[in-house]
Symmetry: D2
Subunit: 473 residues, 4 copies
Amino acid sequence: AEESDGNEMDVETLSGEDIEARNTGDSREEGQQSFQWIIHPYSEEDFFSKYWEQGPLHIKRNSGYYEGLFTTADLDRILHNNVVQYTKNLDITSYSNGKRETHNPIGQAHAPVVWDYYNNGCSVRMLNPQTFHARVWKLLATLQEYFNSFCGANVYLTPPDTQGFAPHWDDIEAFILQLEGKKRWRVYKPRVEEEVLPVDSSGNLDENEIGEPILDVTLEEGDLLYFPRGFIHQGHAVEGNHSLHITVSTYQKNTWGHFLQKMLPQAVSVAMAEDVEFRKGLPRNYLNCMGIANMDHNIEGREAFIKKVGEMVGRMLEIAPLDAAVDQMGTGFMHDCLPPFLTIADKSCSVYGGGEKWSPSKKRVVNRVELGPDTPVRLIRGNCLRVVVEADNVRLYHTLENSREYHAEEPQYLEIVPESAPVVEALIHAYPQYITIENLPLEEETEKMAVVSGLWERGLLVTAQPLDASYDD
Amino acid sequence: AEESDGNEMDVETLSGEDIEARNTGDSREEGQQSFQWIIHPYSEEDFFSKYWEQGPLHIKRNSGYYEGLFTTADLDRILHNNVVQYTKNLDITSYSNGKRETHNPIGQAHAPVVWDYYNNGCSVRMLNPQTFHARVWKLLATLQEYFNSFCGANVYLTPPDTQGFAPHWDDIEAFILQLEGKKRWRVYKPRVEEEVLPVDSSGNLDENEIGEPILDVTLEEGDLLYFPRGFIHQGHAVEGNHSLHITVSTYQKNTWGHFLQKMLPQAVSVAMAEDVEFRKGLPRNYLNCMGIANMDHNIEGREAFIKKVGEMVGRMLEIAPLDAAVDQMGTGFMHDCLPPFLTIADKSCSVYGGGEKWSPSKKRVVNRVELGPDTPVRLIRGNCLRVVVEADNVRLYHTLENSREYHAEEPQYLEIVPESAPVVEALIHAYPQYITIENLPLEEETEKMAVVSGLWERGLLVTAQPLDASYDD
Amino acid sequence: AEESDGNEMDVETLSGEDIEARNTGDSREEGQQSFQWIIHPYSEEDFFSKYWEQGPLHIKRNSGYYEGLFTTADLDRILHNNVVQYTKNLDITSYSNGKRETHNPIGQAHAPVVWDYYNNGCSVRMLNPQTFHARVWKLLATLQEYFNSFCGANVYLTPPDTQGFAPHWDDIEAFILQLEGKKRWRVYKPRVEEEVLPVDSSGNLDENEIGEPILDVTLEEGDLLYFPRGFIHQGHAVEGNHSLHITVSTYQKNTWGHFLQKMLPQAVSVAMAEDVEFRKGLPRNYLNCMGIANMDHNIEGREAFIKKVGEMVGRMLEIAPLDAAVDQMGTGFMHDCLPPFLTIADKSCSVYGGGEKWSPSKKRVVNRVELGPDTPVRLIRGNCLRVVVEADNVRLYHTLENSREYHAEEPQYLEIVPESAPVVEALIHAYPQYITIENLPLEEETEKMAVVSGLWERGLLVTAQPLDASYDD
Amino acid sequence: AEESDGNEMDVETLSGEDIEARNTGDSREEGQQSFQWIIHPYSEEDFFSKYWEQGPLHIKRNSGYYEGLFTTADLDRILHNNVVQYTKNLDITSYSNGKRETHNPIGQAHAPVVWDYYNNGCSVRMLNPQTFHARVWKLLATLQEYFNSFCGANVYLTPPDTQGFAPHWDDIEAFILQLEGKKRWRVYKPRVEEEVLPVDSSGNLDENEIGEPILDVTLEEGDLLYFPRGFIHQGHAVEGNHSLHITVSTYQKNTWGHFLQKMLPQAVSVAMAEDVEFRKGLPRNYLNCMGIANMDHNIEGREAFIKKVGEMVGRMLEIAPLDAAVDQMGTGFMHDCLPPFLTIADKSCSVYGGGEKWSPSKKRVVNRVELGPDTPVRLIRGNCLRVVVEADNVRLYHTLENSREYHAEEPQYLEIVPESAPVVEALIHAYPQYITIENLPLEEETEKMAVVSGLWERGLLVTAQPLDASYDD
């Protein structure tokens, strides 16, 4: 089946860096470009209609395509300069003669010790390179603007002619970017209907229980391999070549079912509060006609009960708080997100780099700036905040103060009075356009300034230009 | 409005004890009779079509109607012979000049101290008289066979010309049985739609905020007053007469909404496991078109998303595990239930009174009995157990080992192998008829005996006759 | 060694019931009599100087000695009339061919099922007969007034020619009272110094690892066998005779060590609060001269540090709150205690039976009584309360509201103002004498009455005579 | 009193940087030098005999003394380059007209916002500058080698003519290093004996309740002010000058009392396990003669009990595990510690910088090094590990993998077999000397190598010279 099934394509020689790095100033557009760069030369339409959640795709490309993304030398540098911890940040693994082992010591992973394992045939997996590596952070932070779902990554370094992992499937959409050397990949179909698009990852599988691969290819530098969650896979570094790849992942637990899990309990609560029908008592006999002991007995009342449940659910759906449930998903996404990777321009036009500074020579604060009614502002990223009503307040959950380490910080938010919500909505819908403060939809000038200052002070806004110091320093 | 709205009726002189106490051998029939006795001379049809969950009903009856149910002397005896604890079992309260107070000391409620409070104008509320009083236990245990919902009770003793409680509403259907003396009751409509059939009880309300009563009657011995949850009420013992009444309650948190709260999360889980549609990813743009910040913006994708949610819920409903959800409600009910009140006949035909005994004279066990293939058996009560599949086992949750104190024991169950389930189903559906063991639907005679013995040993079965000792003692 | 070591003695024929039951009105004296009855005809002095915590003692007595204490028929009756639960209240065990098994089903122990196990050679252990049996409760409640330590009991019924338990040791002082039939006991010395007077019970031991018995006797009705904690033992019902005995236990975790565990942390806290020496910094070098890595190195500062620790502990001991620590032990004891077994006289002279009652005919409270300045009162038991200062309040922890089930209630106490403490102390020290209220050491008459009423209302006081109704009823 | 009490001294002009920075290769010696630099020109002997834990000391020095330690410009840079969070890392405070306020927003502290507060008269306190600032980290890490107690720091920036904090006392020994500008300090004696060397800090105190200062001085650049825990203090930036100081703190909860709190419970446990006297029962009457209700009554047994407690404590002390208790303090210290600040030499001679590296050009691991029998090694710091026996293993608790953020990591340790303990002890006692591996006290060469490799791989050892690559790369 493999190789010949049209799931790959040769592309002209291009450096990926060139394509990916455009700075358009619209984070969603940049996200789209980053994704297009990943699937190049396929079009989004092609990709989503033929492969996404459906089957594997191999793309052959020139060897310099990923230049500058991540190298084994980067890994070495990270090990020397950062506190990388086994198990939390890095795994040492092997898979040999059908036996999968993890060799993690405890404590900090020092380079010489890691390289010793590597020389002895162990694979090295770095679990969250974005924590330690700006370029990877930037890529993932950009992609999440496209996917509206957390984008993660692992880096895998495999010694020549070894394999680090048993066959298994994951619970994420996987994009494998071959950075150095070569690796032979075999990909297998989900075995049964229940394992298609699974919600959880598998354990280690046995070679005997996975059937024949539907794809058997050797990835080379610059190549991409995509496969959906649930597709079993295994990769083996070919003789004479070490292999380094990064797996970009997304769409973990981001399904219709997960949405309904959040939405339906809220919907019942709303229905019970707003519609007396849901507060009426159950029929006295329902325990006697329903239940598994009564399933095969056509007891009176059974049919009516089942029919009534359908009616009640339909009735519930009419007043179901879909938007609130989406917002709950959205705040979860805000918490999952990497913080935005800020450019020099982002910084100089925001609280991150603009504004007041300490002057050692003058021994006082200088560069005092102020936002004015005619200052044009916009959100720092298209998807950097989420408006939610909790209790009687409006909360703006945002990604700005997240850590590069997943969930290392609690969800961060900023509270505003409900009256100021239209300002935030206007900023959301204006994006990527700037809007001057005076044009924001709120009566009082001072209130507009207060809301905008609050957002600016938390790093959520950028001005079109760096602010000028309004005082003589 | 009061008195004249037809919500009361004079009935001929009858002692309630006579009507209620019939022992028909069918617990559900006895439950129905007990309920008919409570609403006598109204018919069930009348009651449920006109009053249940709709509005108050006052029934005038002769003064001996409740004879033997509960008296102030019973309360005195309980205080002397049992460890009754303030707050847990008994409250001392007063309501005077619009001020509601609780005067509970800590520790055990000794009779002299309670009577001192009473003499000083305090009301006495016993919270769960069924724990200490067999006749009340019997009434409630019987009624729950009718309602399929926990039946509780409080007893209230009020000194002449006083009131113990502020106006308020409860979260249960209330049947007030006037046992001694007189009490004037005023009943008010729920104030707003949201307070109709409420899920929780109110706090103390102010006289100013409750409007005019829709019923204003003085209950006398033998009278009944019913009103649905949410109806505000207050009762005042009339001058010269102490008042003793018992409030029988049911249908607490037993609504369609509560059922959906249990059912819907299970339904999503089943749908996610069984139908790949629910494991497919959400549309990439859903966070940008849905959510409260987007409600008033007709963003592309919004309409489609909402439509799709409707379709998914409909699809989910087709495979929703309604029976399993009912069983979950059912096991909750088994845990809530009072244990059955056993008659002498119940005991002599069950493990409670039949079978092996110790002979002090022979210094050995005597009266060895055995169930045989031709022994007719049936469940000890119609609603005493619930069949549930948990993991791979079948569990029979039952009420037999519950305490008379609410939830004092953990849920009790007995596990059987799935193959034996038909025997239990046959016993359920045969009730109130007896069935001989040999006629139970299972292949092997020994297996039938094993299942039946297991049920008999836990007290779930009665034989038609006391078993004969099968050995010569 | 056995039989011949003088650890037993024949006594004249006497019924134990006669000796034990005297009601002297002084609970400590009654406790002493009960204990004397248990070790009769040994004297306390003999017993404590030769056997207590030292070695086993077998006393032969006449067969009627324990008449009325507990019988197998009592056990049968308890199983029929009470909710006895396997594991919590009752164990079914066997020991055969060196294998110890527990056969407990789950749920309620119904008599026919228990007798079935017994007929199949299983032993029956009732874990806390005092919960279900008044005579046992009375004995233990009386004994704890003597021991100032919780007294518990287990009942063991063993079929003829069987053994229910493997050899083992317990963590309590054991008094085995042979009630019915015969049992052969073998008792072994603790194996090593560390197992002398152990703090915890052993697991099941193997016959091979316990050496030779130092005592090998057959207990008959009326006999007593005592052995200290740590002595290994096993009992076997002899052929042709079932055996029933009750083991009375005491002094569990009631050692000097347990006292020091409570006292020393308090002592440091007090020392740190009151003496600045304890708040001074440790020497800078102590980590470098002390610690196991430095034990064998005579580093400078080591000797001085060790010497200083000795001085500090000595200094601490001078202000150590010994009384507060004893009180903490004492409140623990109050919580462990069985509630007092009240006689008819106790009841009629206390809140339990005296005072106000409800008159059904008069439909009001009658028999109103009042304590007067000349009413003589005393504590209901010598050891029924403990005075403790917690925060700024004085708490009287007491045993009156304990359950007969061990620790089923939280510790119960009554708070008084510090000014009233002398009244309680006077009552404690007067016991067993009565003292009139007017003679209690407090300025104001009304305050005396208030304190005494508070104690009387909680059941802690008895009057010398039943109070007369002070009003005409 | 102030100024004139001899608590200050003028010193010749010297830059502190010159004195402090010597690298002697012995961490304890370097710690001592750092401390001498802090109290210069006082001698240790002088300082500890006259001031430590006794009273305040002001030292006047030249303005360049602290050059390079920390500046307001450093603070500005930290705010721009790090995620500094309000409350966790930084406080905005004010104290004006007797009112102390904290103005912390939530979330990240952005420089422009902080400077805005400063311009409005608020003080800025950075709570743990060592987390963000290498020079401060180095100073504290060095000092803790001297004190054997955690050394922390706060930085305070105060606008001209303002005060940020109310009078209060702290629970640490405080060394205030005036870095920029001037601040007037008033120091007051502890008010009562109980507040001398207190275990906890005070709340904000009122000017009225603190009496007169015993010291009133204006600190200038290069000055030092020391005062013990418990001394009340307040500082006010003088008109026309902002003030920046760093407070170095140590000896928090490091007293004899804290040691006894750890030691005594262990001592009882050991005594109970090893000495049967501690497992013997308490006297039956102790509850009746001891306790606060019996304090003023000379009841028999009381005196004997008190005497016996003294004897038991004395007996306990003879076998008390002082070393184990010190080790428990020591592991606590290991956890509290800052990780060592590593020099370039430290790195190149340890796992941090030496050993295997990745060669991008050769695409394989190079610079393979190996420890040999004649390699001289020593601990990386004198106080970097603690040997503890837990259960049957020997654990080496160490500071190497601690975070610069206090307690951000769990206690880190490495387990070795008990047989290897002498190797570690030898390394501890050899420090600061190197010892060749072959001279370590263990039989087998391979075992020596294994232990040393284990320590080297965790970063605990340095070699005398960087290791040579033992293979040709």
